[in-house]
């Protein structure tokens, strides 16, 4: 029986940005595939997971959707300290929310010493008529901080999947190139006949032996 080794990669993503820029809406669009008008302000932080296959990796994203309200600001380190990626969300119709990103970046630079994938997200791009932050300016800023950049609309489902996908790809890249990436993996032994199922891990045999970071090369197959 032919088997092939697949790695599972657990990536922690923290979503930050000012109150009401649409962080929760973006996450729900990505994870739940929908937009709810009735979404209410986040209290503390909400936790989401999302699993998908990416090349040879079975990726599990753990997403912390943080609250933008000022009183929760001091909680943020708890989430970003352990993160592998940060989505920096602003609202393209609010230049204040864009300036707030700069504070976030400063804070992240000062407090996080593990490598962190950054992704600048200009949300609500469906509201072109009231745009207050130009795409050029944001793009320029993104490259100055070595960050990915996407404009998204949770409402119109634009750019959201792309943004998360690129973040995941960068995390894989980070894992492969940086031994101290802090990313968790474990080996999965997958029967070749049962692969190619896209979003459904029921048919994956999981050898529950966790091996942090350095893959245990040469270990025998699970069947």
């Amino acid at each position: 029986m032919s088997t092939r080794t697949t790695k599972s990669l657990e990536g922690k993503v923290v979503v930050v940005g000012s109150q009401g820029v649409g962080k929760t809406s973006v996450v729900i669009r990505y994870v739940g595939g929908m937009f709810s008008k009735a979404v209410s302000p986040t209290i503390g932080a909400s936790f989401f997971t999302y699993k998908f296959n990416l090349g040879n990796y079975r990726v599990k994203l753990q997403v912390w959707d943080t609250a933008g309200q000022e009183r929760f600001r001091s909680m943020a380190p708890m989430y970003y300290r352990k993160a592998n990626a940060a989505m920096l969300v602003y609202d393209i119709t609010s230049s204040d929310s864009f300036y707030d990103i700069k504070d976030w970046v400063k804070e992240l630079k000062n407090n996080v010493d593990t490598p962190l994938v950054l992704c600048l997200v200009g949300n609500k791009c469906d509201l072109e008529e009231s745009r207050a932050v130009s795409k050029d300016e944001a793009e320029e800023y993104a490259s100055s901080i070595n960050s990915l950049f996407y404009e998204t609309s949770a409402l119109k489902n634009m750019g959201v999947d792309e943004a998360f996908l690129q973040v995941a790809k960068q995390m894989v890249h980070l894992y492969e190139t940086n031994p101290n990436s802090g990313l968790n993996t474990m080996d999965l032994y997958m029967k070749s006949e049962s692969t190619h199922s896209d979003d459904n891990n029921t048919d994956i045999k999981l050898d529950a032996k966790t091996s942090p970071n350095n893959s245990t090369s040469g270990s025998g197959c699970g069947c």
């Binding site: 109150q19 209290i43 503390g44 932080a45 909400s46």
Partner: protein
């Protein structure tokens, strides 16, 4: 002064019957009585006179519980280092030297020392202004919160910005009285009472024309004050104003106004706040036991202090760490948090919450999730460990799985579907509605609201009657054991013993004998149902 006024304003044709008779029912058999400590009753209402609320019960931050738990569990230096990341906890331990405890406490002042001219004759000169239109004026209850520097913090109706003037006037009154070493408590102007609660650089003013008593309004204000503490902690509130007297607290409270809004609205309709008691979701005893055991078995993890399960503002179960207790007042704040936040329905949440009675100096971390698809049954796991999310999330999954397997979630939703119980089930003619509180367990029960209390206006009137009855029975000047009161549209009978408080509403034609007979029958019914209606066992991890 206020109390006397109220008695004078009794609705017409009142037949008063006051007595210390206790009827047939044996006091020692209070239904729902338990020797186990389940919930700590809030300070008994009798003790909640103004000075106590204003000075003692909230003045001293209980700095202890959280630190104790963290310390107790820290076996080595390694854990100590961990605790240092809990910066608020550490700050509080630094401050727990009594240094600031007396600061901000108002000077004691007994009622008769209130300067005459500040009372009755006082007329507030507020500029006529379209912001205070007739609609605003007609609101029966207002709530204003401002800092001692006069900065607006919150207003129940109308935006604070537009009410800067009125809050300025109030602040001027407060400081004027304070200069002479006194403390502003109350202004009565016609039907309106203005009640002041001056706490730690913030002033809360309740204005009511709804007929509630001064003490009842103070109680409401203290709930609101506790709500603010719950969001910020006493320690940081104190610190903020110590550093900057002029601080605009709205910045930090931004987004939390809705908790205050929700709280004051709930206090207008939920008797539990007035009674200082919690309502339990009626469940068969084995079902509740099953749920409790499931929690105990699957959430026995380090640093978890309380596990609370709620549905529709009612308590399903409470499991606590040995030695630590939850007070009814804190549980009311938890219920308010869940009731006011839609966002917990979207995903598992992790949020700090301060429980002022438990420990006003620091935050607990709450893992909050709904267990069923319809987002009815909410589980809260409160821990002192900020890193416990994933552990608790696992506990939650196991609890959920088992409750599903044993159909407990089904039992909960069935109980919710029938809301509560009908007064008919008690089988007592002429009894329209009642509130029964078992004091030892700080829990209450009451039937559904039925005709003739179906419209909001009628429900408000009923609630007003309960406030009246409650106030008379607890009157500081003349507390009563039994009050029989014949009103225009109904007859009320209130009875207070060591073990319980009972407030009943009858049709207008009931006779005194029949009413007393009826409440004896009612008490027997409650006794029979007590396992369903109350949580009588204290469950610990």
């Amino acid at each position: 002064m206020a109390e006397a006024k109220e008695a004078d304003r009794l609705p017409d044709h009142v037949d008063h019957y006051e007595s210390s008779d206790q009827g047939d029912f044996n006091e020692n058999e209070a239904p729902g009585d338990s020797h186990e400590k389940i919930l700590i009753a809030s300070d008994s209402y009798e003790d909640l006179n103004y000075d106590d609320i204003a000075v003692s019960s909230f003045g001293k931050p209980y700095s202890g519980s959280i630190i104790d738990i963290v310390r107790h569990n820290s076996c080595s230096d390694e854990k100590e280092a961990d605790a240092s990341s809990l910066n608020l906890i550490n700050e509080s331990s630094a401050e727990s030297s009594n240094e600031d405890q007396n600061e901000g406490q108002v000077k004691d002042l007994s009622a008769d020392k209130v300067p005459e001219d500040v009372g009755e004759g006082m007329k507030l000169e507020i500029r006529e202004n379209e912001d205070f239109g007739p609609e605003w004026r007609q609101k029966k209850k207002h709530l204003f919160i401002f800092s001692s520097a006069g900065k607006p913090i919150y207003s129940r109706h109308g935006s604070e910005d537009k009410l800067v003037t009125i809050m300025g006037v109030m602040q001027a009154l407060v400081s004027f009285v304070q200069v002479s070493g006194d403390n502003m408590r109350c202004i009565i102007a016609g039907d309106h009472k203005f009640i002041f609660l001056n706490r730690d650089q913030i002033v809360l003013v309740g204005v009511s024309s709804a007929g509630d008593s001064s003490t009842q309004i103070v109680l409401q204000l203290s709930y609101v004050y506790n709500q603010i503490i719950s969001v910020l902690t006493y320690t940081s509130l104190h610190k903020i104003f110590k550093q900057r007297r002029n601080y605009d607290l709205r910045r930090l409270l931004s987004g939390a106004e809705k908790f205050i809004d929700n709280l004051v609205n709930m206090m207008d309709t939920e008797p539990g706040f007035l009674l200082g008691a919690i309502r339990c979701l009626p469940l068969d005893a084995p079902v509740r036991e099953m749920i409790e055991q499931t929690i105990v078995l699957n959430a026995k993890v380090k640093d978890l202090v309380f596990a609370v399960m709620l549905a529709n503002n009612q308590l399903i179960s409470l499991v606590r760490m040995k030695k630590y207790f939850l007070s009814a007042m804190d549980l009311h704040l938890i219920i308010n948090l869940v009731n006011a936040s839609e966002s917990f329905k979207t995903a598992e949440s992790w949020t700090p919450i301060c429980l002022p009675k438990f420990d006003s100096s620091g935050f607990l971390q709450a893992h909050i999730s709904y267990l069923d698809e319809n987002s009815q049954t909410c589980l809260l796991l409160l821990s002192v460990d900020r890193e416990a999310f994933f552990t608790l999330s696992e506990c939650k999954n196991k609890i959920q799985e088992r409750l599903l397997k044993y159909n407990s979630l089904r039992a909960i939703s069935d109980s919710l579907a029938t809301t509560s119980y009908s007064i008919q089930q008690c089988g007592i003619t002429d009894l329209r509605h009642f509130l029964y509180k078992s004091k030892s367990i700080a829990q209450y029960t009451s039937p559904e609201l039925e005709a003739p209390y179906l419209t909001p206006a009628d429900q408000e009137r009923l609630f007003g009657l309960y406030h009246y009855l409650h106030h008379r029975i607890h009157s500081p000047a003349r507390p009563l054991k039994i009050l029989y009161y014949v009103g225009e549209q109904e007859t009320l009978l209130g009875w207070m013993t060591q073990g319980f408080e009972l407030y009943t509403v009858f049709g207008p034609l009931v006779t005194k004998t029949n009413a007393i007979h009826a409440i004896n029958k009612l008490l027997r019914w409650i006794k029979k149902e007590e396992d369903q209606l109350f949580i009588l066992n204290s469950v610990t991890f």
